[in-house]
């Protein structure tokens, strides 16, 4: 007999409190708002790798990612005075990265749809394809070929599903942080992750056959 267990997954993204911002971070934000250039430099230094990495994963192009990163920090400094500590500063910056990437993705896909990287190019970039004889017959191990296939399928996913999965798997964000970054409810994050993984799992099943 099944015992129903009440789940507590659905949380409001806006429920994250001011306590998300620690004292040191709050002081840094205050200094930036007064126009302290050294504080602005510190803020960029702390978050630049994270911003560039996420931009790179969302856009898949280093030059575009670098350009987007600059735009993100400019946006951060323009709107930092409106930051009220409703989340960690990192999560707030994630949201800006995602919004900027979403806008750029639409334009990028319209313009360069025909010149997207092929699977062969991707495999060449990540190394040789392992022989299928090295793979267990019924289960696949995490190989470069599998990874390439998964990434190819990931690129075909809708932007919001792809972003949710990248934030979860690469950046390791919690569901509530992903929800804030995407400006959606936690339940929506969960459903997007589930749909994204179902699609990728279908790709895995295709590899096994």
């Amino acid at each position: 007999m099944q015992t129903p267990i009440s789940g507590g997954l659905v949380k409001n993204a806006g429920a994250v409190a001011w306590s998300e911002v620690d004292t040191q971070e709050a002081a840094l934000i205050a200094r930036c708002n007064t126009g302290d250039e050294a504080a602005c430099a510190d803020l960029v230094t702390i978050h630049q790798r994270m911003v560039y990495s996420l931009a790179l994963h969302l856009l898949g192009d280093r030059d575009e990612a670098l350009d987007l990163s600059q735009e993100v920090f400019l946006r951060v400094f323009r709107t930092l005075s409106s930051f009220r500590g409703q989340s960690a500063l990192r999560t707030w910056i994630y949201r800006i990265v995602i919004n900027q990437a979403r806008n750029r993705q639409r334009w990028w896909r319209r313009r360069y749809r025909s010149s997207q990287v092929s699977l062969d190019d991707h495999l060449q970039q990540f190394g040789d394809v392992e022989s299928k004889t090295d793979v267990l017959p019924d289960r696949l191990l995490a190989s470069k070929e599998t990874s390439a296939r998964i990434w190819q399928a990931l690129d075909r996913l809708p932007f919001d599903q792809r972003t949710a999965l990248i934030l979860r798997e690469i950046d390791g964000l919690r569901y509530d942080e992903i929800a804030f970054s995407l400006n959606v409810a936690v339940g929506t994050v969960k459903s997007r992750l589930t749909r994204a993984r179902q699609t990728l799992r279908a790709e895995l099943l295709g590899l096994r056959t």
Partner: protein
Amino acid sequence: MIPYVGCEYAREHLDAFVDGELSVDEQVAVESHLRWCRTCAARVEDVQLIGTSIRLGSLAPGDEDAQTVSHLQSSVLIRVRAEEELSLASRFRDMFADMRLLWPALGATSAVTVGLALALSVLHSTTRERPESLAAMIELAEPGGDHNPLMPGNSARVDRLLGYIDSDRAGGISMPRALDDGTGFESIPEQDAVFAVAAVVSREGRIANYELLKSERRGPRGRNLPTNDVEMLDAALRQSRFAPAQTPVGRAVAVNMVWLIVMTTVQTPPEPRAIRVPPASTAPVTRIPPTESLEETPLKRSDRLETSTTA
């Protein structure tokens, strides 16, 4: 006691289980299910494999990227400084960042502009200066206005309540009354003269326009009116002030009138002739004392202003 959960429940929570987002109770329940359900356990392995594959193929910034990223700070700060210098332009650009707002704003601005232009054109077309405008037509049609003067007397009548002119109602229009005694005409040379002027006395009591109907002058200069006299007459007419004609309800109206200006000279009668009485024989001759000097007294000039209405 570990609760039992079936595959349906477990599959709903597999992603959260892998991500560590379940509560302790849920985590334990799903984990116990996975111990005996190979299908769900395989699903979990797939989810974990997907995560591993994503991390394996991620474009993690390398050494080359580290150098690129290190330049990010300086380039961002340079742009921040430049933007502060051009903050106004930057704010203006931000206004157009969201194009969804631009088009409604442009549409609203256009609508307001068109509306203002229409309103101004309507106002312009109704000014009194334009003869075809409604205001000018109302002005023309208004009885008693400067463009539509009345005739004084009882022929034109006025509604006492509403103030409009109606010939079928009782009442009359008073005559305009001259406010000066003809001093304006003293500049005209002292000659007997008669001028007949058809004029309109406006609501303000001025001569709006006039026409010299007739002029007669006696004296050595003959009947023709010299040019100089015409100018002086014109100046005198322009300086003339009247108490405007009024309706019975006290409303000032413009009226037509004929103004008869007569300048006459009053002379004393001729010198009486002395009567010589023949002397009586006995009576002493008496001399009638001479009358007082009957030298011609200086001419006293009087101007008489008369008005009459036009037919």
